[in-house]
Symmetry: C2
Subunit: 675 residues, 2 copies
């Protein structure tokens, strides 16, 4: 890291943390709950919306089924949450569906689960950011045109918070989650009390009707209901993140994670059920596009739909009231906290995968705030890309998201069923009750999530969710290839138990690449001489014969003691003649080695890099691919651009040192005579 970047990095990221203080960042329960609850709890904001939007496709006939669909969703949530309790106890090392699937169903299933999770973490961030902006636009419609940049900005904001380290992220999640639960709880209770008192709140959109072409057949209606049910399944977002996040909890990790799960599940079900009930009572009408609504006061292209939560808040507390604003604030906050929870889970999972060699090693490295900085950056990049491609629309994002979500749920539950089955085989008679109950729960949960997955694959994949499947498959294949590559490399470079050091090279041929005779060249020549090579020569490639002749003449005039070899290059290439020359040198002996010295400029500004060393890039790549060659950079720190801060200052210091050395050298017998 250049110290040019160090100051802003410190300002943004805070002080660096020492390795030996890593335990401080483990999460106590009061922080673990909000960190991991943010995702499921916040899903209330978009899962209810999605359920109603899809039901609306079926018109009034379908909308009356909203309570039934909501109950079905709540049952699935309850079953899944309960079934995850045994899972986190069985795998306190973390990894969630990935760990379960890979240990019980084999590495291939594990890879599928891992790919699904990585994709889902990314989509959670995108969905949460998009939903947060929708909530914001509901109260500030003037921002509607800036939705995409705002959503991208939200992702980048959460990224920066997370690069500062996990502890801060925990604290920053606490207020939004508890705030959201309390405010939405008050909203639901107030609304229900008013309904019970006969003063039912009426949503602003209660008068609109959803446009629908013709009557639906029973089959079509059924499909709509199933799709809506699957959409509501978004309420399960983030459950697997808790299982993945176990290592970040304080001990007893398994118990704490299970308790966290139950608390989160209860809150989610209560809020989800309450919001749907209130939405049905107050007649909220939402559609994918405003132009699908009839009865709008203005042209549909000018009309910005409010979210379900925003409409309920205005219906219950009044438009523009403090309560309505408060609902918007906590909704935005909890959705950002949800995005944040993915920033906790993704780097942990990526590090686990990288440690096992399935992802590039640098994802396993901890950044200097103990956060997995590389994972955080990759996640943010992925989420921003998805937001841009899908124009920050919650619906299409959820279509992608749900497939991965329920793939990992189903894999985890099938894995747990097998886990308990294995226990049963080895368990004593008296100890069979626990495993039997565990297996029953896992099978029920697997059937629940499996049927949702089936619905998704039937009704969502033709709808664009195939992209999610493709992404998962590609990611899985890539991880397998990465793993194979690391395995092969590590076998190739391993030293045998009795293997000694490499044989010493017999002779070292030094080649100094020269284009002009200037101070970087003379420095490279004397450095090369200092390595006491067996042979030493300067080489120039005659891409411009006239320039090469001039160089030869100057070489002679200045009586440089190192011989200059001019390589012909009729096709004006630099690389090929040099590589061929180097190969020829090396062919002189089977154990000879060639060192190629490249004088290089070190520049102070990025734009200056374009002006220098361009041909060295190819050259270095080609020389590196040639066996028996060392490539030596002899840097020349340019002092000329003094305005450039740190690097330039260091270069200037280097220069004065060099001048000092030159002055001393002038009175020194070591100095090479020119002749």
């Amino acid at each position: 890291m250049s110290s040019l970047l160090a100051v802003p990095k410190r300002l943004i990221l805070g002080r660096a943390r020492r390795s030996d203080r890593a335990d401080d960042t483990l999460l106590p329960k009061r922080l673990a709950l909000p960190v991991f609850a943010a995702d499921p709890v916040s899903s209330v904001a978009y899962a209810t919306q999605e359920l109603l939007v899809i039901l609306a496709l079926g018109g009034t006939a379908a909308l009356v089924l909203a309570p039934e669909v909501a109950v079905a969703v709540c049952v699935v949530v309850a079953v899944v949450v309960l079934s995850y309790g045994p899972l986190v106890r069985a795998y306190p090392g973390g990894g969630g569906s990935f760990a379960v699937a890979s240990r019980t169903l084999g590495p291939r299933a594990g890879l599928v689960a891992a790919a699904a999770l990585l994709v889902d973490y990314t989509l959670t961030v995108a969905v949460s950011a998009a939903a947060a902006i929708d909530a914001l636009v509901s109260v500030l419609p003037a921002l509607a045109s800036a939705r995409i940049p705002l959503a991208v900005g939200a992702v980048l904001l959460v990224m920066v918070v997370n690069l500062r380290g996990r502890q801060e992220a925990g604290w920053s999640a606490m207020l939004p989650v508890y705030g959201f639960v309390v405010v939405i709880g008050v909203l639901v209770v107030t609304g229900l009390v008013r309904w019970a008192g006969g003063d039912t709140p009426v949503a602003a959109s209660a008068g609109y009707e959803v446009e629908r072409t013709g009557d639906l057949t029973a089959v079509a209606l059924g499909l709509v209901v199933l799709r809506s049910f699957a959409g509501g399944g978004a309420a399960l977002a983030g459950v697997d993140a808790i299982a993945n996040g176990v290592p970040a909890m304080r001990p007893p990790k398994g118990r704490n994670a299970a308790l966290t799960l139950v608390g989160v599940g209860a809150m989610t079900i209560a809020l989800f059920g309450g919001v749907i009930t209130l939405a049905v009572l107050s007649g909220v009408t939402v559609a994918r596009s405003a132009c699908d609504l009839r009865g709008l006061p203005v042209d549909c292209t000018q009309f910005t739909q409010q979210t379900v939560l925003a409409q309920l808040a205005e219906a219950v507390f009044g438009a523009g009231s403090v309560g309505a604003v408060l609902v918007a604030v906590v909704t935005v906050a909890v959705l950002l906290a949800a995005a944040n929870s993915s920033f906790n889970g993704f780097p942990l999972l990526a590090a686990t995968l990288a440690d096992s060699g399935y992802l590039p090693r640098q994802l396993a490295r901890r950044g200097d705030r103990l956060a997995h900085s590389n994972g955080i950056l990759v996640l943010a990049l992925g989420a921003v890309a998805v937001l841009l491609v899908l124009e920050a629309q919650v619906g299409p994002l959820l279509d992608l998201y749900l497939v991965g979500l329920f793939t990992s749920f189903t894999l985890a539950q099938v894995g747990m069923a097998r886990h308990w089955g294995q226990r049963l085989r080895t368990a004593r008679r008296s100890a069979r009750r626990g495993p039997l109950a565990g297996r029953a729960l896992a099978v029920v949960a697997a059937l629940c999530t499996g049927s949702v997955l089936l619905v998704l694959l039937v009704v969502k994949v033709p709808n664009g969710a195939w992209a999610s499947v493709v992404l998962m498959v590609l990611l899985g294949v890539a991880m397998q290839r990465v793993h194979r590559h690391y395995d092969l490399v590590s076998a190739e470079v391993a030293l045998g138990e009795d293997e000694g050091p490499d044989p010493m090279p017999a002779r070292v041929h030094a080649v100094v690449l020269v284009s002009r005779l200037h101070r970087p060249t003379t420095r490279a020549l004397s450095y090369a001489r200092a390595t006491r090579p067996s042979t030493l020569e300067a080489v120039t490639v005659a891409t411009e014969p006239a320039a090469a002749r001039e160089l030869s003449e100057e070489w002679g005039r200045r009586r440089v003691s190192v011989p200059l070899r001019v390589l012909d290059s009729p096709y004006r290439e630099v690389t090929r003649p040099l590589v061929e020359h180097v190969k020829a040198l090396r062919a002189r002996g089977p154990r000879d080695v060639v060192t190629v010295f490249l004088p290089e400029y070190v520049v102070a500004h990025w734009w200056e890099a374009v002006l220098h060393n361009q041909s060295n890039v190819w050259l270095r790549a080609r020389l590196s691919a040639t066996p028996g060659v060392m490539v030596v950079s002899v840097p020349w720190q340019l002092a000329s651009v003094v305005a450039g801060g740190d690097l330039a200052a260091r270069a200037a210091e280097g220069r004065s040192l060099a001048q000092q050395a030159a002055r001393m050298g002038a009175a020194d017998s070591d100095r090479e005579p020119l002749a």
Copy 2:
């Protein structure tokens, strides 16, 4: 260039050319004419259109002035073309307005001219490609939705043709230019004959009217006429390119260039005048947007306007006739040839600028087909970017283009006026006639082009053409900075006349960076030992203390003779502890040098590069900025990925050589004992 890429490169670019055959690519006149005429001649396709489109803004009152405006444009073209004759004779070295302005008006004016030209070459390519696609869409309206990708594809096509070398580009220009001149000539003559015979052709759009809000004031009408006149000035496109292209002509270069200019000017004026006349006679009605037209048969968003040429062709030869198709074909072809002519001019100018140190040096290098490949790539990239930003619309592209075009014309003419003025001062009495006439011509031309520039700056710059001005200024400043940078660097690195070689380093401290003890490490250790350093140590940075302890133990167990130093890194950084250690080593003596050996993997596929050597990138940058340090890569060619073709094969060869060497080394006294 990796040989992995060499085969497709050869397939696309053809055989490499030797330097000593460079004269073969000089252009004879029969090729020079079409190469350089393509641009001015093809401008008839869009200049006539632009003139009419802008006049249409003024409604019928303005449209009747079309012949007058066209005559004014023709006069300007004639004056400029005539005035360029003396210019190319005076500057047979090429460079056009750039050379003239920098020699007569000073380097600052030269830079402005150069920046204007570079911008204009880029915009010519973009305008020509966009106009070519408009011509295509006029006969194939189904392609209207793919306009932008088609235009980008056209640019890339011309780029590939040019990367093959200049000669082919010349031949490929000949047929389109002569074809266009003949076909449009026949079109105009046929149309005029029919008019003379009382059977005036009627354009398909003759029945439409241009919508216009209210009556225009005289001032507004005047402005419209002036803008239209300026738009018609696009007919001068490419004249400066001839002046720049002089070095590509066969001797006598100046005379041949001047003759080419006159031929080109005559053709352009004839075609331009003819097409405008016929358009007025046949009642062609065009507007910027189809929705500005009244009387359309369908909804304006569904309507694709035909170009003026396409409408004339259908009016004269009949819709769908062979003649109409032929007009479309030659129009597309000549516009592509025009784009091509910029691909001749831009790299030449860029090379001239790079030779004088105003642009990065690699633009001065000739590619291996004697074409300036880098310049060609930069031009294509720029044109594609402009096309994408302006959605391949000819109108807005021309707005940008014309400002630069007339800036360079005006600079060239003012420069020529001063050129003749200087001649006058030194000329003998009897020889004053020539210079006097030259100066008069230059002044008239400067007034013509200057007034067009003034019109453009008044009526076009608020219209978006400011982007062109901003681009020119930025480019000019950038070129100045590049020049200053090269100057400073070259002064800094220059050897004094009596300066000797650099002093020899007193001691060389070798440091081998180690992360694990594997074969790349042992190779690096023995290579380092082969350079006979004064001190040698292996260094590992303990980012993970456990891993460092393990390494130390293995080091001891294997009794490696090189000592291992473990650097603490409480903040898990690799770079800083190593750089500090290196600085400490170097501080032992003012003339000591440190060589840092980095074992590096050489991979066979680009994606594998992500998996290795990531930390070396930062490390290398920081070490290079530290004075007195050499950075040595010890490549380890990975043999494991055998499927990967060339590089992998070479790596495998390297491995078997290494194994052979190891076998030999085992029976060799040179071999270092492990203890």
